[in-house]
Symmetry: C2
Subunit: 245 residues, 2 copies
């Protein structure tokens, strides 16, 4: 009998081209599908809640797959982990409703972005924190972040190379805190467009540098023009923390 298995995955994205399988590249999805193939001697396709870019990390990516085998769901994570490299770990495996779909059922996502705001980049966290040398005005960034909240058409914050038509998204929460020389930005929303968080962060960095005013965020959103927003901040700072169902 076909079962639906939901898995929660933590990965260090440093050595991967991203979540999704792509020709001639090594992806997280591919590694997990290879592990399932080795375990169950069957081609099992997994469906992730969303893609992550090259170098982007996840503490709580979610995926599902169908399974015929008779293994208790909570043992599946241990079994898969034996076949995975150490920079990918299944942290949870559970039985899901047969209709469950990791992407279509997702109600929202939480992402975290870390900026290492110091004159020298971090040695230990070089792959987890995006380095910005100029000291940023965090208060101004917090003020600016509030303009993103709510329902907006986010064309100005969408990278090229996507064929999504509807660019309306809702952002529920943005928390920006500074701890030592690390600025942590947490975003919770209904969903995010291609590069959306990294462009929002790049724009907030411009605010923190004093290049643009916090109020400018509204105008940039309304303009719908990618050219008005800031640069795409480095993927290494980004982490998919949680998928909400």
């Amino acid at each position: 009998m076909k079962r639906k298995i939901k898995i929660t995955i933590e990965y260090d994205g440093t050595n991967y081209s991203g979540w999704q399988i792509q020709p001639d590249q090594i992806s997280v999805q591919q590694k997990i599908e290879e592990a399932l193939k080795a375990l169950f001697n069957d081609d099992v396709k997994i469906h992730g809640a969303g893609r992550t870019d090259a170098g982007v990390h996840a503490l709580g990516q979610v995926a599902h797959f169908e399974l015929d085998a008779d293994i208790p769901s909570e043992r599946i994570k241990y079994a898969i982990n034996t076949k995975l490299p150490k920079d990918i770990r299944i942290v949870k495996s559970e039985e899901a409703d047969i209709d469950f779909h990791a992407r279509y059922n997702a109600k929202g996502k939480v992402y975290r972005f870390q900026i290492h705001n110091a004159d020298i980049p971090s040695a230990i966290f070089r792959n987890n924190r995006y380095h910005v040398r100029q000291i940023l005005d965090v208060e101004k960034m917090i003020e600016a972040g509030a303009f993103f909240l709510g329902v907006h058409e986010f064309s100005a914050f969408c990278g090229s190379g996507t064929d999504v038509d509807n660019k309306v998204r809702e952002i529920y929460r943005i928390d920006i805190v500074k701890r030592g020389n690390v600025i942590e930005l947490e975003f919770q929303g209904s969903g995010f467009l291609y590069h959306m968080i990294r462009i929002m962060v790049g724009t907030l960095i411009d605010v923190g540098k004093g290049k643009i005013k916090p109020q400018a965020i509204s105008e940039i959103i309304l303009s719908g023009d990618r050219c008005n927003a800031g640069a795409t901040a480095g993927g290494c700072g980004l982490c998919l923390v949680r998928v909400l169902y």
Copy 2:
């Protein structure tokens, strides 16, 4: 004119045999001396505040060296960093008194040890957190930690392979906190013997597992016998946070 330069170093110890130069191994000290050689075309020997083992990290290792060159002290860090791999960064460079010695002048050190206390090891922090699967009783560990405070003869907590005679050390502070599934242990002391913190952590883990009682720490210290203490916890969890002068 000879100058004395003090540098503060952050490094990810994952790919190194430790701080100190050893034959046929790659050490942090060696990488910095090679960088200085490349910069100043001279053999510059650096003196660290203390050794760290293979895989152990540092946020604030300190070292000194003598220099003849006429470069402003605050520029030295940028110059050295251009010649270093990204997992080693000089975060501060400053002029020191000509008598300054990174090791002899050190009044104490702060180390931090991170335990990933969950059934699955962390993918992202696999090189920064020591994995312990059994859920530990942190309250008991805090109780046990207090028995280490003060001046003791720490033979029972010293690894073999050291020729230090005086094994009396003073521990000023031990803070143990749990955040999510991470247990963070911070130790501040006059100095630490070879493997001392990792053996203390291994013993505190035994307390957290209920294998020994918190009060047993005193007896183990008094016994002076390494066999009575716990296993040496994995070096990847350890980080030299700060050297006190």
